[in-house]
Subunit: 186 residues, 4 copies
Amino acid sequence: MARSDAVRNREKVRQAAETVLSEQGLSARMDEIARRAGVGVGTVYRHFATKEALYQAIVTARVDVLLAEADQLRESGDPRTAFFTFFTRIVADATGKKAYTDALRTAGIDLKSEQAAQAARMRQAIDDLLRNAQQTAAVRRDAALPEILALLRGATMAAETGDYPAAVLDRSLQLLLDGLRPHADI
Amino acid sequence: MARSDAVRNREKVRQAAETVLSEQGLSARMDEIARRAGVGVGTVYRHFATKEALYQAIVTARVDVLLAEADQLRESGDPRTAFFTFFTRIVADATGKKAYTDALRTAGIDLKSEQAAQAARMRQAIDDLLRNAQQTAAVRRDAALPEILALLRGATMAAETGDYPAAVLDRSLQLLLDGLRPHADI
Amino acid sequence: MARSDAVRNREKVRQAAETVLSEQGLSARMDEIARRAGVGVGTVYRHFATKEALYQAIVTARVDVLLAEADQLRESGDPRTAFFTFFTRIVADATGKKAYTDALRTAGIDLKSEQAAQAARMRQAIDDLLRNAQQTAAVRRDAALPEILALLRGATMAAETGDYPAAVLDRSLQLLLDGLRPHADI
Amino acid sequence: MARSDAVRNREKVRQAAETVLSEQGLSARMDEIARRAGVGVGTVYRHFATKEALYQAIVTARVDVLLAEADQLRESGDPRTAFFTFFTRIVADATGKKAYTDALRTAGIDLKSEQAAQAARMRQAIDDLLRNAQQTAAVRRDAALPEILALLRGATMAAETGDYPAAVLDRSLQLLLDGLRPHADI
DNA sequence: CATGAATGAGAGTTCATTCAT
DNA sequence: CATGAATGAACTCTCATTCAT
């Protein structure tokens, strides 16, 4: 079988895994992923050594997309919009998708070494957007990266649960982001 | 009658389960819980019919403690302090404890019917504290209960991960709560 | 506690066990038997060393009753009535009672040595009734004890299943017994 | 594709299960069945979803064989031989095989719905043979299907016990069947 | 390189039996 | 002697991973 077939299979598996993990979380079975990809389990294992590796691959792919978006936003001009949009974008991306949180953990700690670089880039991207936003007074200057990451993680995890209607999630995120803007108490 | 022994063992099991679940989350094995409690698995099952029941018992006990604290806080006079302290208290209680989030879910949805009453009480307690705080202008009047619960859930989940140093969690919570206060943009 | 209490307890346990085993068969739990007897499991074990022993005690008691009936029937005069009534009596006694079959096995093989004597008496009782019935030409002379016991066992087991309405069991037993009478083909 | 292997293994499992269930009855352990088949437990479960399903598969297969024999016998000409041979055949098939009775229960009650059709066919087969035999005066006309089934069940259960030598079983069955023939009392 | 059957180490749960109270 | 809590081996079933075809 030609090389291109293998590449195609890898992609089929990745997509199936993304769907299944989104729906069922980490407890999804490998058989189910294979079934949805239309291949045998063996093929899944050919492309991804373990369930963990498959999962990491998905997260990596997702973070790559997010990183690209961060780049675009950073270059789009308005630092305020860039920061808030990215924050919102990440949360929206996770909404209702189980087992996706780790995309953010990736930006934090506990990652496999191969992904250290990507994690650093994510941290850097958020840091850049944050600093730009702070320099234009769009975000409180006393908010440092670590706490912003923690808030982002929490927002993402709440969104993942699937327990909250979109409107509620929106309002809660609005409150959160609004609170990050510089303000004077009334 | 070995009643006192039984009570003691039940408590040993409960504590062991609390510890183990805190450390390992819901995937913790019943054998491990029994081992830590210094009893046989059968004893664990004598006191708690299923793994789920054991878990629910722990969550229920914890939420009861929190509810008592909510009562005290509400009667302690200052609505501002009461609200922010309770929010902080819940998050602090969850910090580093895996599988604890569901205490909050309890206040949301998806609970077993026996715990419906407790869940309702939790919602009510938070609602009371929120309304009081809003009436004294300690919290934005446009923040409704559902979004507050979502924010609380997120903060709790982030705390549970164990991925963030206490200082970072503190600062992130500070930012979040500060943002809930009424304010004018600068 | 006085001796009489112990005796009373033993009897309570025996009766509870008889009921429970009749209803649920050998898979009945010891806890359930104790509960129905109104005692603790420990008490059940004080009187009967194992579940098997308890079961054997019940069977033994039942067979004793049946043996007494066999005596009465043998002395009641009519050999024909005696044989058919006893056969019917045994089957009726087992109807719908799970795990009772072994009363008959007792008359066959595989019994614990303590019950060998009782088993022998049962065989003897049936043999006596059979011979008497054969001597008065109430039963075919070519039917020997072993095959009669096998037929009795089968009839009893079918009755125990609880799968057949009383009327059906009656008719089947009627056919069986009728077939045991001396007859000429038509 | 290891299809042929799978088929072979399924058959190995089925045979091992048949053997083990014959020897030990329904209480046989799945581990033991796997061991005898020379496969892992997982393989047993791959082919048969539950212990119950495995058991049902065996019974179903056996009843299918019996049904085929019933067909042959019905078409073989002599109604008398057909009926008595089939009755004998069923009992012989069960002799010494624990947990086989349910093949007959299948013809009665309490069956899983998927086997309703097979059960009905078994009833029908026996009914056909019975009616044919009755029309040629080989069997008493007052013996209806339900009681015949009850007698068959009892004979089968007695045979299953393994408590009776073949000669005894033979004679008991001879007595039973002989009694089913039309006759005049002497 | 793909397949999916096979593996087997657990995981939760049950229950006859023991023994501290 | 009675109690019932404790025990832990057994049992069924699951699923990530391996490997023969």
